[in-house]
Symmetry: C2
Subunit: 356 residues, 2 copies
């Protein structure tokens, strides 16, 4: 297989991936995935801000303290959440079974889980499936990996972006799952990003957090967050490009954010029951915080959602949501446009009536 | 008509009410209501916290500065919101036409509107209907008034509570409308309360605000607020009971809150498309603020709502909502009960699985 083909299949130099059916999803199919880096990768992550956190979130966050990682094992079908002390043991066992099969240090294995909560993870099925999973590892395995982490998702989500830094092509390969429990404030899904640049794990963490803030933290489907959300990034350094200082940092950051943005839009488009993909653009706000408050209030408004679902140009619901957002709004200067159709100017309706 | 019958029909000594069809609602029917106090009533109100406020909200708030009121005129079918300077003129004209017909000072007339926004109020229809409306005024007219202010409400909402203070029976008669755009933070509907006690308007304001905080500010239907919300209270003093100092203040406050609570529950029960009425009880919170944060997050969660609608005991959605509420939660001590069935104890699920 030549490099061209592998890029098409979402490869990233230095990484191999695979997935198998381990019997964790009720409906069957791929449900256990593994990403392995040939050598130690710089690693970073951002995690759910929910106070209730699943065992794999707690374990992976702890292990990322070292800033390095060799492998990530992820499963769907069982979230290993609200499972108490046994859940922590099962998360460690999941990492250890991967480490044993790969002959690496278990401390360098991160774990992620998604699916039903409150049920013990069948760690023995994970262990039993591990040798077969390791055997399937391949540079072209990201596609299977993306399928394995799907829950209510209808389509697998992969994005590949490249940029040239110091004359070397840097590849960012991201996979994500997410459809329900989607709202801002991290991170509302699982996301795994592999890059072949060489980069310090602290800088990697910062660029990931920036990128997530501009992408995943600005989407919403149902306004809820889950207990299992995480975005992990691993850097193999295999492209030979070194990300340190400008302009490399900005170029890499933009490339990473572009990949995250594509994944984030895929998540919204594949939102549970979603029929519309809507961009909310706020202009003229005094502060970025105010712009975000307005966007959040409008995006999370059930009445705005139902109006859009019903294709009803009820701008009254938008103005009411903006008005309660907490942002400093001058009611007499509100302007509302649907695409290029002006519905409200100077705080007064131009088109059809609305409700309040 | 004897007093007994009038109490049944929600009368309150010193007040008369009425409603007519003025052609403001598209579907016809009663849509213009009037409450008149025989003499000057002490008056107070609480208003929407939305930054976008309808003309009648602005006008009534301003006029309440004096703490007295003789009449309230309210309409449904048109919210007189997002109507600019003309809206303010129309609100004043609405008050003036009532004042002219009653032979009182227009400054002592409060106005309220609900319905479509962004359309000018047909003030000429209001004026034309006023003589007939005044002619219909009767102590037993609250029932018609309650019907006139309905928009998407399926049932009129009236609550009467009485208490004995200093040997005199005090009556609280409240009417409200509300079905959509219901969430806490005042006041998500229109509410008009008449009492026959004598009470200072400052104290009246405080007791109304307390009562609203414990009732209307704790209900939610769709999580949105409107631009037209207000709760007004008028006190005629006709019962002879004087509310000043304890125990009269507490007794009256409890009676008022009981009436508001009944109206608030009616609003939720009549929520647009509502099939369930759910009480959320939070115990063991470190602060009242934390209790409220948890209740709000759970109540506003679309996923919790859809689970309850579908009669799915998915406690995972409740635990996830509580976890993101911002309250200081100890995940290992979470307990969740549906009625008397314990679903989660010590942060672990006991019953069926959930999702995350």
């Amino acid at each position: 297989m030549d490099d061209g083909t592998m890029t098409e299949q979402a490869a990233c130099a230095g990484f191999r991936a695979a997935a198998v059916a381990a019997g964790l999803k009720k409906r069957g199919g791929l449900d256990l995935g593994l990403i392995v880096c040939d050598e130690k990768a710089a690693a970073a992550g951002v995690f759910t801000t929910n106070r209730v956190q699943a065992a794999p979130v707690i374990l992976s966050r702890e292990r990322l303290g070292a800033g390095v990682c060799r492998a990530v094992v992820a499963n769907a079908g069982n979230a290993n959440c609200c499972t108490g002390q046994r859940g922590m043991e099962d998360a460690r066992a999941m990492a250890r079974s991967a480490a044993d099969a790969l002959g690496i240090d278990p401390e360098e294995v991160l774990v992620a889980s998604t699916g039903v909560i409150g049920q013990p993870l069948p760690a023995e099925r994970v262990a039993a499936a591990m040798p077969g999973l390791v055997k399937k590892l391949s540079p072209a395995g990201f596609s299977d990996f993306a399928s394995a982490i799907m829950t209510t998702d209808l389509v697998p989500k992969i994005a590949v972006e490249t940029t040239v830094i110091d004359g070397r092509t840097v590849t960012v390969t991201g996979v994500a799952k997410g459809s329900g429990m989607i709202r801002p404030d991290m991170a509302t899904m699982l996301c795994f990003v592999c890059v072949d640049a060489e980069i310090d794990s602290g800088l990697l963490r910062r660029l990931l957090a920036d990128g997530v803030d501009r992408t995943f933290n600005r989407i919403t489907v149902d306004g809820d967050t889950s207990t299992n959300d995480m975005a992990l990034i691993l850097a193999s350094g295999r492209s030979g490009a070194v990300i340190a200082g400008e302009p490399a940092e900005s170029a890499f950051g933009e490339c990473l954010t572009a990949a995250l943005a594509r994944l984030a839009r895929m998540v919204v488009k594949d939102g549970e029951g979603a029929t519309k993909l809507v961009d909310i653009i706020v202009e003229g706000a005094k502060t970025a915080g105010d712009a975000r408050r307005v966007a959040d209030a409008v995006a999370h408004s059930s009445l705005v959602k139902t109006a859009l679902f019903g294709q009803d140009a009820n701008w009254g619901r938008i103005i009411a949501a903006a008005g309660r957002s907490g942002a400093a709004i001058d009611p007499d200067r509100i302007e509302i446009l649907f695409d290029d159709v002006t519905m409200v100017a100077d705080g007064m309706g131009l088109g059809p009536e609305a409700e309040a």
